[in-house]
């Protein structure tokens, strides 16, 4: 009896510590939201109030006139959706070749793609900037999208998944006279919805949060993505904390929604691939 009692006490202690951890990890989000609805006078009050008694939503309309935040939102949506779709198509095609076809140089090429995971993105950013600038693609959607339309990580993830599809299925289709593009489109892709979903969520979220490339590939405020617009906002309103917090809430909200809806497949994708996760 005494042992069992101590065990429960330990469990409760761990539970309490974990709850404190939640306050630390999620507290900043609450503070972000709380500040965004505070009246200006209350923001610089000391000691600060945790929750205002007089919530205001003014900042949520003001932010759209302070900078073209709506446009930035649209830009991010266009760029993220285009990159996600492009990666799904390009990576799955490459993965099909690596997993289901025989050709000379297969292992070597796959190794080269994998080796690219070791290259930090900051290494290629200078040549890519020079390339995009030479092409006149600064401040264009293609300049924001194309450098990320292929991903080694995505190819690796899908290839591993395609390899688990029974070979007999593919060979039976071949015997029935199916072409490879038919097998790819009507057998392999429909069977791989879980992996494709994980890649889609992962690609969307990491592109939504991407910062350095859109920062240097845009000069006009109309072409900025949400993260870049947020840093512009900081430059112009660096002490207007309620407005900055409003921008942060809006920048974070779509990703949190995607994450909570697709939590399981997101984490599955992250741990399956390992490398290139960040």
């Amino acid at each position: 009896m005494a042992r069992a009692g101590r065990k429960t006490a330990v469990e409760w202690l761990i539970f309490a510590v974990l709850l404190t951890g939640v306050v630390l990890t999620c507290g900043p989000f609450a503070w972000m939201l709380g500040t965004s609805i505070k009246p200006d006078a209350e923001v610089f009050q000391f000691p600060p109030t945790l929750l205002t008694g007089d919530p205001k939503l003014d900042n949520y309309s003001e932010i759209f006139s302070a900078i073209p935040f709506g446009r930035a939102f649209l830009n991010s949506m266009i760029v993220c959706i285009a990159i996600t779709l492009a990666q799904l198509i390009v990576c799955s095609m490459a993965a099909y070749a690596f997993a289901c076809l025989e050709f000379r140089g297969r292992e070597a090429l796959f190794l080269i793609y994998l080796a690219a995971l070791m290259v930090p993105p900051q290494v290629t950013i200078i040549p890519n900037f020079i390339l995009v600038r030479t092409l006149g693609w600064i401040d264009t959607y293609q300049g924001l999208i194309l450098p990320f339309a292929f991903s080694s990580f995505g190819t690796f993830l899908l290839r591993q998944y395609f390899k688990t599809i029974p070979r007999e299925l593919i060979e039976a289709a071949r015997i029935d006279g199916a072409k490879h593009w038919q097998i790819y489109l009507f057998i392999v892709m429909p069977l791989s919805r879980a992996a494709l979903g994980a890649l889609a969520i992962f690609a969307f979220v990491s592109q939504w949060n991407n910062f350095l490339w859109p920062l240097i590939a845009t000069t006009r405020v109309e072409m900025q993505t949400v993260t870049v617009a947020l840093s512009t906002l900081q430059g112009q309103y660096n002490t207007d904390w309620p407005l900055l917090m409003t921008g942060s809430v809006l920048a974070v909200a779509p990703v949190i929604a995607v994450f909570i809806l697709g939590n399981r497949s997101f984490i599955a994708g992250l741990t399956a691939g390992g490398f290139g996760g960040r």
Partner: protein, 296 residues
């Protein structure tokens, strides 16, 4: 059996068609740029005048540049402080959640939330929390009797610890998820066998769990080191590398020289230093992983 379609020549052509889009994109935006970055690092190039070959000039300048020395020191400080902290906290969270505690999914989501959050937004809210005069952190400190709380982002001594804190906050959940996956890979029979030999509680942790978890631990270590060397956005938003370069780190320095000073050659040389560090870390991981694997 006789109608089996021979794999081979016709596969070959189809394969290259399937690979074409990825090959074009990979070559244009990754393959050639890596080579180009290497070549540019031997030039002096401001993008307005033609590049001038300077051989190892940029690397020699890096070696002599006092700011670059400081930058490397700062980066090392950041990596050495943030990696162990996020790993230890991540492991503790994973061990706690792996006990089958109630609300496991809730805790997992709550701890992982910072990982998926935009670093720019996270950096903004933490800059506000660390605000010297009106921030919540100093308000809490003075409420417990600290009469002269740090000036945090405005102080050369405290700016870096503040940036490290945010990095740890953002990455604990990532380490936790990887550790949890590792813990769930440990076969139950080993614990049952251990129980017969009297391994319980701490003993079980030290003699069974931790050794069997070591491949995961090593993987998390390398991933964290590589990620930490690339810190940029936190510095960009919270301190803009200040005060007095106290938080200037390697990637910020690359950004600064490339895109603020337009010294493409010099920035590329600094980028090559980053590449070398990441390469060494990855090769160490690759060489040692076989030695760390305890189960098949």
């Amino acid at each position: 059996m006789a109608r089996r379609v021979p794999l081979g020549r016709q596969d070959e052509r189809v394969a290259w068609l399937f690979l074409a889009p990825s090959l074009i994109l990979f070559t244009t935006f990754t393959g050639l740029p890596v080579l180009a970055a290497f070549l540019i690092s031997f030039t002096q190039w401001d993008l307005f005048n033609p590049p001038r070959f300077v051989a190892l000039g940029n690397y020699l300048t890096l070696a002599r540049d006092g700011i670059f020395g400081k930058v490397m020191g700062n980066t090392a400080y950041f990596v050495l402080a943030s990696v162990p902290a996020q790993m230890i906290l991540g492991l503790l969270c994973a061990l706690a959640l792996n006990r089958g505690i109630m609300g496991q999914t809730f805790f997992r989501v709550a701890y992982f939330l910072p990982v998926v959050t935009s670093t720019i937004a996270a950096a903004l809210v933490w800059a506000w929390l660390f605000n010297t005069n009106f921030g919540l952190i100093n308000a809490l400190l003075s409420s417990v009797g600290v009469s002269d709380p740090p000036r945090w982002l405005g102080s050369t001594a405290w700016a870096m610890p503040a940036v490290i804190t945010v990095s740890v906050w953002q990455n604990v959940g990532y380490a936790m998820v990887l550790f949890l996956a590792g813990l769930q890979n440990i076969p139950r029979e080993l614990y049952d066998a251990g129980a017969i030999d009297g391994a319980k509680g701490w003993k079980r942790l030290i003699y069974i769990t931790l050794p069997l978890l070591s491949p995961t631990t090593f993987f998390v270590l390398i991933i964290s080191i590589i990620g930490s060397f690339q810190v940029f956005e936190l510095v960009f938003v919270m301190t803009n590398a200040g005060p007095a370069n106290a938080t200037n780190t390697l990637v910020f320095y690359i950004y600064q020289n490339g895109f603020q000073f337009y010294q493409m050659g010099y920035a590329s040389a600094a980028a090559m230093v980053l590449f070398l560090i990441v390469l060494v870390a990855t090769l160490v991981q690759y060489r040692l992983q076989t030695r760390w694997v305890h189960y098949g």
